[in-house]
């Protein structure tokens, strides 16, 4: 009994110290990480829809559980951010939609896809830029080329590409539901 108590105590102490240190580090880094995320989101918005101002509008339609926020750019269109699962984890995507319900561009804000494969969806290289450019001008009927659409997938397994394509269609439908 004594032995078990001693073991628990040692493990508890070490875990407590580690947790304390992590708390301090988190306190220091959290605001920096947050500021970076905001700057990134702003840049993503600007890259998917040409507008000077984005105003968040309320969106709580239970038919679109993946949609996180909808921002309206007066007279130009909307930017929809959604979170959905990719191949390795959640993907956060910003989709620009104009007033004719056509996609004006997409930008991957956060992801943890496989480096060199699905991660290319977010890359600044040729592959990533070409992949994202395919979405411009698409409507809600968008689909991968192996499903009869016109979007060429990044990889043969198409998990990331399909998730993004579906998210773009969902975003356009979400904007339509506003009208």
């Amino acid at each position: 009994m004594n032995k078990i108590l001693k073991l628990s105590l040692v493990l508890f102490l070490i875990s407590a110290i580690v947790a304390g240190v992590l708390g301090v580090i988190n306190n220091i880094t959290a605001p920096v990480i947050d500021a970076q995320r905001q700057a990134k989101t702003a840049a993503a918005f600007a890259s998917v829809l040409k507008a000077d101002r984005f105003d968040e509008i309320e969106f709580a339609n239970p038919d679109f559980p993946t949609v996180q926020t909808v921002h309206k750019a007066e007279g130009v269109g909307y930017v929809v951010t959604s979170v959905f699962s990719g191949a390795q984890g959640n993907i956060t995507l910003a989709v620009g939609v104009d007033n004719d319900y056509k996609c004006t561009g997409i930008s991957v804000i956060e992801h943890s896809e496989t480096s060199g494969l699905g991660a290319n969806a977010a890359s600044t290289g040729e592959v990533g830029v070409n992949f994202r450019a395919q979405f411009v001008g698409q409507d809600e009927g968008i689909a991968l080329s192996n499903a009869g659409g016109s979007i060429d997938a990044l990889t043969g397994a198409t998990i990331t590409s399909r998730a993004i394509t579906e998210a773009v269609a969902t975003s356009i439908r979400a904007v339509k539901s506003l009208a």
Binding site: L7, V10, I14, S115, G116, A122
Partner: protein, 231 residues
Amino acid sequence: MNRKKQFTEGLITNNPVLVQQIGMCATMAITTTLFNGVGMGLSVLIILTCCNVVISALRKMIPGEIRLAIFVVVIAGFVTIVDLLLKAFVPALSEALGVFIPLIVVNCIIIGRAEAFCQKMPVKDSFFDGIFQGLGYTCVLIVMCVVREFLGAGRFGGGLIDVSNGFRFTLDGTGAGIQIFPESYGASIMSLPFGGFLTLGFLIAAMQYALKKAEDKKAKKAEEEKKEVEE
């Protein structure tokens, strides 16, 4: 303990990847650009050194029955610290390496060194063990990155070197690298995990060959000396 011997062991004779063959998953996954390789190598080096020092300092306090649990807590702590710091101050690297930074928790180099070395050795030796093993790991990553980046994309130093405006190092991962031949001529399979297996296989083979040869030479020399003594 002999530092020189520790140095040779970490880099060559007991290299974590090529000889001990631990920590291979991340090695194959992230070695696509020099930026990733250097970043990952240095992250592992720092985490390994910190964990080695702490575990070695605590080695008399840690009861044998729960040592693995404590190792994992300490390792996870340092990995999370490095992960948060990278996210805050080197976001490009954190993005490029993605899930492989948190996965250092289960990288067997760190728990392997804790188990095989630090729980028996003084802090100073453990500190140098961390540095040298970390260097050995980093060197392998760099070699793999250089080979794969060259064959796969015809580039050298992607993310780390920028030559568009005179030669300079880019620590934020934006440099395009030195293009040696057009990217479209590259065997892009080398950038895929398959290329990682292939490169690592050849590297391990070369290392084993070199080590075997050195060993044979040593044995032959010893034999000759023995003969001379007999004569």
